[in-house]
Symmetry: D2
Subunit: 265 residues, 4 copies
């Protein structure tokens, strides 16, 4: 019997891109709130999700410096499993309930692509960076303190797709400001067979159900974001009309399930 969660499936299951769930994550992240053109937000939503008029184009851009592990100390092989990520979440409604939809996401690691595609995250490869916090601070390492600045950037296929800045004001006291609507993705697996190219193997709305979410060292302040126009890319259609709050924090959670909301085929 061949073993492995993702490709490749092999006799011992060691070569697979990912071990089977549960999947464990820790990260530092930046989050920048913004408002895009409402028509552009409505245009990226898949069937089954409705534009959330009350949000008026509301969205978030997120930069994550992730460490991943399965149950076999994969965090001790950072060359294979550590990665960086950038994604956008836009406000939407599923059957009247507020959700967040991910139209664009970039990572710098193949295991992360594979896990993402299993969850409906439409990942591409990118070079993602964010300013880091170190306990030994200085001119090269901002403190967790009012006025400190943390920047993020993402480049894919050779084009700078996003740049962001978070300026800290206060530690987060009311954890409500960190609350995130459930993330609903479009899980899509195309078929290459000539007579099935319009009949994907998967085409459904799915809800991510992470658990044991922990947030530490959360600071809030101002965010700014730009999404420059690039040849061959559409992400700039979501360019901010205005930006809102910025957050910098650490997060951990576990993923071992995915909830199907609606088969769209």
């Amino acid at each position: 019997m061949l073993k492995g969660f993702n490709y490749p499936l092999t006799p011992k299951g060691k070569s697979t891109l990912n071990p089977p769930p549960p999947w464990y994550y820790s990260a530092d992240f930046l989050s920048i709130e913004f408002w895009a053109d409402p028509a552009a937000v409505a245009a990226v939503l898949p069937p089954g999700l409705d534009f959330n008029r009350s949000g008026n184009g509301h969205a978030n851009a997120l930069f994550y410096d992730w460490q991943f592990s399965g149950s076999n100390e994969e965090y001790l092989d950072p060359a294979r499993y550590q990665y960086r990520e950038f994604f956008i979440l836009v406000d939407a409604l599923f059957e009247g309930k507020a959700v967040a939809y991910c139209p664009y996401i970039f990572v710098d690691n193949d295991a992360a692509i594979a896990r993402g595609w299993s969850q409906g995250y439409p990942k591409r490869l990118g070079q993602v960076f964010q300013t880091r916090y170190y306990a030994a601070t200085g001119k090269a390492g901002p403190a967790l303190a009012p006025g400190s600045k943390f920047a993020g950037s993402v480049t894919a296929s050779g084009h700078r797709l996003a740049e962001a800045l978070v300026t800290l004001k206060d530690p987060v006291k009311d954890m409500c400001v960190l609350k995130q609507a459930p993330i609903v993705n479009l899980l899509h697996t195309p078929r290459l067979a000539a007579d099935k190219q319009d009949k994907p193997a998967d085409h459904e709305l799915v809800e991510n159900v992470p658990h044991d979410v922990k947030i530490e060292q959360a600071w809030i302040g101002e965010g700014s974001l730009s999404l420059p126009v690039c040849h061959g890319e559409e992400i700039s259609d979501l360019a901010p009309v205005r930006c809102g709050k910025g957050i910098r924090a650490s997060l951990a959670y576990i993923v071992d399930d995915l909830k199907t909301l609606k088969d769209l085929r």
Copy 2:
């Protein structure tokens, strides 16, 4: 309506990893024939494929320097679509017919990963290199001539997984030596939903059906290959017991279909 063959699906279809088929390819390649431990070859085969006793562990290792295009001059965006690839094909039988099965494959580009997974190629990211041929030859650029040497190497997750050498002897006159049994892959799409982790969305044997295959500048000689033992990897289980012929050539073909041989679920 959202557009795109692979993730992401977007309003204009520009951000997608790949345009819809037909997919066009040109490449230079190295091919090294070898024989692995027959038990190791039998062990990598999925259900539905049988070990080919007459091959006695026969396999090929291949290095490709690819250029890809869809119908919109994607070959003019090499930062997004040019890539390098290494893979292994082992002899097998499907219902008594000789086929080749791909247990391991590495590329350095995300669009190539996405196309590969749509065809059952179990691609991971790797750093793949081969010595190039240039019309302006010299000590840095081997001629297409007897005794010329071309090397290949692949590294993934920080480990050197394969090294190869082809030494040219003669131009290929009888194109039969380049004949390749049909490639049959295991198309596999896992499901993360907790109650479906043993019920993949796809799990079937598929046959690749490239067409309009052109081969040019083919030379044949001797091949050598090593597959070193690496922590966390199994490819070395296929390490050569002995090596055979080596080939260096250019190839072009078109992919626009995939044939399902057998659903394994």
Copy 3:
């Protein structure tokens, strides 16, 4: 005794970035002729070089897909020595003689950086790509024929710095069109010692003296180039006012010397 041409110097001389000269090169290249703002060209020239009024801002942008070797078959270790390069040459005068000066150059390999700095090429890391020619042509691989198109791009520090296109018209019959004025660089080695930061270890004009230059498969046609404005970069100051001819060819040469023209200290 420690051995090695570049860092690191070690007991056996195997770890060094580069073997000692002679250095052998083969490549495919694209060349795009253009005219920049004359004032911008004058501004990038170091002391000792004069603006060439007759050129009126004339320059060339070049993309090279290189293979390097020393005397020990280094071309068989392409993971260590194969690389891609983009650079700009602007017209200048040294003591009244026409020369070409390189203000910007990007490569994707550290051995190439080290060799470059030894020759006064001000190399930085970048991701450089050009459309390749393969003997097996098709929609993904342009033929060497009238109307065929070859593109190039370069990205550094996450920003797209240059994009180019060469459209072939005719094979080059008169090799004079390929003639290149001698390349004169500013060889500069800074000193970190607090009292010597204004006294570089090297600061001189040097002339590159490659020999045994071979050019094959040369085609000429039209060139186009863009140098977009990027935060933190100045290369866009040389953005083309207009573009001229484009060339696509293969080249080989040998480097084993460097001529000092003038010490600027």
Copy 4:
């Protein structure tokens, strides 16, 4: 006048690899103490440095996740300036005084290569990783607590050159255990001119003089290290005979000077 500390020198000084000193650094690091074959340690030392018999082959391997800045908030451009580093320091004597010499060092960033070469660090490009600490801990993110494990790895030119593990035992109370002998490097700038290839532009012993050193969150425990044998590399000659303590901490310092100890020409 052209501006810039390192290449390229340009009219505005924006394109240069590095701003002028002072240079600011913050990092997290792993340090693994080990003893190599004393003859191998003696063999890597340059003229002017003597083998430290009392150390008996004592050395340290270090993994750094660095953030760099000049005086213009370069830490807000992490795509250009953030980097990872691995290096080895061996015990030595300079005129009878205990010093540490760096025979091998790898980074993943060109600005870091340029600064390093200005200080005599013999840097090559590599892919360097270490397990990170996050405030939000869990199975993917080890706590700063007894028994926690942090791993490091480095790959260069496609070969895995080093793997390490630090297992924490206790917070460091006595800062003396973190004391580092002064780092003395061989500053070496080769000359390509045919008649000067044996007359380097620089060839001297230099002492690094960082200041305002801060160390935070220091934990001590056990270290382990392997330096596998690789084709074309000599670092494995320093493979540990035995390993000693392991450290995991954060560090910040400033570099703005370099002290010449002895010209070796």
